[in-house]
Amino acid sequence: MPSLDDLKKRIKSVKSTQKITKAMKMVAAAKLRKAQENAEKGRPYSQKMQNIILNLTKSINDPSNAPKLLVGTGEDKIYLCVVLTADRGLCGGFNSNICKLAKINFKKILKDGKTLKIITVGSKGLDQIKREYGKYIVKKFSFKEKKQITFNEAEIIGKEIINLFQQNEFDKCILFYNNFKNVITQIPQAQQIIPTENSSTEDKSDDSLSYEFEPDEDEILEDLLPKNLSTQIFKAFLENAASEQGSRMTAMDNATRNAGDLVDKLTINYNRSRQASITKELIEIISGAESL
């Protein structure tokens, strides 16, 4: 049985923890609104970009001449995995969920006898992955000192990936990030970005228009594909940022509630032992008086 003093101390410490988690929740909620807005605003751009590329792909008759970024190298040996995580912790399962999904994929790739290369973005993911897969990491990015991630950062990573691709360092590139669905649901996702995956349905073919291209398709594609890559990465960034805040908000909300429960329980314990000691003292006094 802990003494009264101990209980008092514990209640105090849990209460101050609760204050911290409550404040973090509030901050996350405020940031979430902005991040969510950004993610929603960023969606049309990447969607439309994907649409244009889809239309372009349709008009390409000779796949062997098409740019490599679009159709791939034709081989399937080396996989480059880009894992996007946060730079900060205390956000529930956010980072772990991405890493879990990534690790499942890593295992599969290695099991199939393929070569694995990893780029990590964000320090939390790096910490989780480097223990098991440290030797596969070729590059790590962290934008910890940046307050907000802009298109420029996405472009830096995009350029790096294209650079590696041009040096024939990999055949396929997969991007891991959390898709922001709503505040409580974030779905970790693996998206193949090189070669571009035809994710949308094929039945759109009847409204395919014959486009006029200026200059020709190849040149447009050459200009557009690297841009699209950066756009996809940027989209992943935005989704991730919103997911991180959402995840942190729910995690901190839970933590605040748990702390509240704990305080209640400790308070009852405290009161009980206080009462017990009073009763004990009373009994002592009474029995002392009786013996006189």
């Binding site: 960023g42 751009y45 439309k48 228009l209 200026e214 200059p215 447009i220 200009d223 841009k227």
Partner: protein, 129 residues
């Protein structure tokens, strides 16, 4: 009446404008291009220049690059940088111009880059006059 079509300018972080227009001129890669209603479907990309939207009122945007798609009377302009002409700070433009000029004098740039840079300088000169 129905001589109008929709124009959208979208940047990665937001929708810059969505409105109706009767005519839009864009600085396409191979030259200035005017688009009217019922233009044939088109995909092209931009060089530095001005996008001018003629609708209820005339609106101009300065862009450095971008991709354009026109289909079903919907003009879609995707660009990472588009600025409303009236709001541009002339000083910052001069800075961009100086930077472009400096780059132009470097030897190891491709013809394509040279082409784009020279248009950037020309456009900025035009604006600042």
């Amino acid at each position: 009446m129905s001589e109008k079509f929709t124009v959208e300018i979208i940047s990665p972080d937001r929708l810059i404008i969505k409105s109706e227009a009767t005519e839009v001129t864009i600085p396409s890669y191979e030259g200035q291009m005017g688009i009217l209603k019922d233009h044939i479907p088109l995909i092209t990309f931009l060089r530095p220049g001005l996008i001018i939207i003629y609708g209820n009122e005339k609106k101009s945007y300065y862009v450095e690059e971008g991709t354009v798609e026109f289909s079903n009377n919907n003009l879609l302009i995707l660009t990472s940088k588009a600025k409303v002409l009236e709001n541009i700070d002339k000083k910052s433009l001069e800075e961009i111009k100086d930077l472009a000029k400096k780059k132009l004098n470097e030897s190891e740039i491709s013809d394509k880059e040279k082409y784009l840079l020279s248009y950037k300088i020309e456009t900025i000169n035009e604006i600042n006059q």
